[in-house]
Symmetry: C2
Subunit: 378 residues, 2 copies
């Protein structure tokens, strides 16, 4: 077994520093996973991601299933080989995109029927199918299919989704355990996903049910979808308290830079978010002093780097004035440089969080980050 | 004076190998200049251009004059500093884009009146203004404003444009010589542009008139705009024969990869073309075996690099199948990787041309390139 996870430092807050070993390298946790939707982090080459120190990427099962197709990727030798990324990959189940992107999405106990947003073709995603697709992709970590509900959710809706999520997790686990390690199937870890909306007791119940299925790691899903930050943290803490300390915990789809230390303090080890990459393409740059909306006229002749405190390649070389010009001119290079900086900023924030845990200073780091951040850019 | 040019090897064909020294580094000639229209080669960072070995870029005066404005760039310390490119830059006069991009373009002996394609604002570009803008940009090599005519051109039209081009060149030269080297003005070389359409005697006449103005280098303009390749070469050769051997010669706006050795054999030292960058964004990749239109379904599972003979970073890592997937998915990274490869291909072809001249083998290299190229991709 080439997978393992160990926690080797704990902060007074509950923040954990650890190491997740996979057949595609070791991930220092807490870890931020840049999102490579269609087997590419938009605008960055894999060389650049290595240079930035990304140890794991997230790729979207829904997108890759529709295009180029998981069987094509399987025939290519798996996603690592297809996209020439030798480090670790986590794939989601596809469920979230089915619910948010596809048309005519119909859900029942069997699974989700939907039409592709690309060509309108009909598809059925079941817990077994989601597991099989991710085995074909050969990601290091696969997620079970869960039911994603809108928020805020009435309690009966949250209860029904919780029941279905557990039932699907059981089917996904069974399917996975029959195949994992068999001839033609890759080594993979499959994670369960705790649901329960913003009801603490439902979150606990969901966690207890999933623990019976003995996943090597657990995710907390359906959070940071509009509820107050404090509620997100409360739910994550509730769940974290029930999860086995020696297994990795993944808080899905978070978050804003100044929130990252809080999630780590809730005991979370892994996070992913499209924010650094998507915001970059919209000319929103993250800095230690807050967001810089680089299209603003005030930056037209600003000869400073995006963030004077930043050590990234973009900040070493280019001025705000130049970045602004690239965005004003609609240049591809604008997205390339902005994404480079933002992904560096997120990965670097995580590096600082890991260091803060080492010194038992996570609370102070979180406070400092928030104080500087809210101050806004010069 | 930190500029110089020397030819230190000549091929039996007339191809020349030389060195162009500028305050921003030495350019080995024959040289290909990637086009960085708006102070960026679309999709490539300046680090990547350095890695690819680009020694000089071309930037477009028309675009930079309109946005962000030449005075802003002057205040920023010039174009090198603005775009963080420490190597050499050549700027065109803006004339070609005024004629091809702007609206309501009206020409008379004073200059060209036009409306911006961005906001419809009215502008007047004169030979003096074109020189002043380029001094503000601080490029290493500036071009005089010339009259660009449609082709094929009736002889009287070509004659009139020739006369105006010479008159404008004289005004540009006078303006330039009064300012160059003065306080606040950068060191710069100004090149004249030989016109005369496809009439050999007019080309010779244009060259003779410009020689009187004693430019440190000469360009051949208005070619490769639809006439047969043989005619382009014939005109370039006619002009080349009249130009002083010890000054650089720049054939503007060429060309296709398999044509580059021919232009060098005509005695040309510098070339620029949007083809490698523009074609890359349209999924057209240049290889030693010809063009690979990577969107083609035949590449869907092709595990080979774009060009098995290519040493570029993209070909060392990624497959045709992956590139095709990126283009099919409309990913920014597609343009980034394809542009990287194509610019490498052009710069590498020029490296091979310089080597061929060293061994006196330019004719053989041209024949080999054309034979391989026409064979088409495997």
């Amino acid at each position: 077994m080439s997978f393992s996870f160990e926690v080797f430092e704990t902060d007074p807050t509950g923040g954990r520093r650890g190491r997740l070993r996979t057949p595609h390298g070791t991930i220092e946790t807490p870890a931020f996973m840049p999102v490579g939707t269609a087997a590419t982090v938009k605008g960055l080459s894999q060389e650049t991601l290595e240079e930035l120190g990304a140890q794991i990427l997230l790729a979207n099962t829904y997108h890759l299933y529709l295009r180029p197709g998981h069987e094509l990727i399987r025939r290519s030798g798996g996603l690592h080989r297809f996209m020439a990324w030798p480090r670790a990959i986590l794939t989601d189940s596809g469920g979230y995109q089915v619910f948010s992107l596809s048309e005519l999405c119909k859900i029942d106990d069997v699974g989700v029927r939907f039409r592709s947003h690309l060509d309108g073709s009909e598809h059925l995603l079941t817990p077994e199918k989601a597991a099989e697709i991710q085995l074909a992709l050969g990601s290091d970590i696969a997620m079970v299919l869960d039911e994603c509900i809108e928020t805020p959710a009435p309690r009966p809706v949250a209860e029904a989704a919780l029941r279905r999520t557990t039932a699907w997790a059981r089917r996904a686990r069974e399917y996975f355990l029959l195949r994992a390690g068999q001839e033609g199937y890759p080594a993979q870890w499959q994670f369960g996903i705790v649901q329960g909306a913003t009801y603490a007791d439902l979150r606990r119940e969901s966690a207890r049910q999933l623990l019976e299925l003995d996943f090597p790691g657990y995710a907390v899903g359906g959070l940071a979808v509009g509820e107050p930050h404090e509620v997100t943290c409360e739910m994550a803490t509730e769940v974290g308290a029930l999860l086995p300390a020696e297994r990795p915990r993944y808080l899905m789809g978070v978050g804003r830079p100044e929130q990252l230390p809080d999630y780590v303090a809730c005991g979370m080890d892994m996070m992913d978010c499209v924010l650094p990459t998507r915001a970059a393409r919209h000319a929103c740059l993250y800095t230690t002093e807050g967001r810089v909306l680089i299209r603003n006229a005030r930056y037209a002749e600003d000869a400073r780097p995006i963030d004077p405190r930043c050590s990234c390649r973009v900040c070493q070389r280019y001025t705000r004035a130049y970045l602004r010009h690239l965005f004003a001119s609609g240049e591809i290079t604008a997205a390339v440089l902005a994404t480079h900086h933002n992904v560096h900023f997120y990965l670097d924030t995580m590096r600082q969080i890991r260091e803060a845990i080492y010194f038992g200073q996570l609370v102070n780091f979180a406070a400092e980050l928030r104080a500087r951040y809210v101050a806004g850019p010069a």
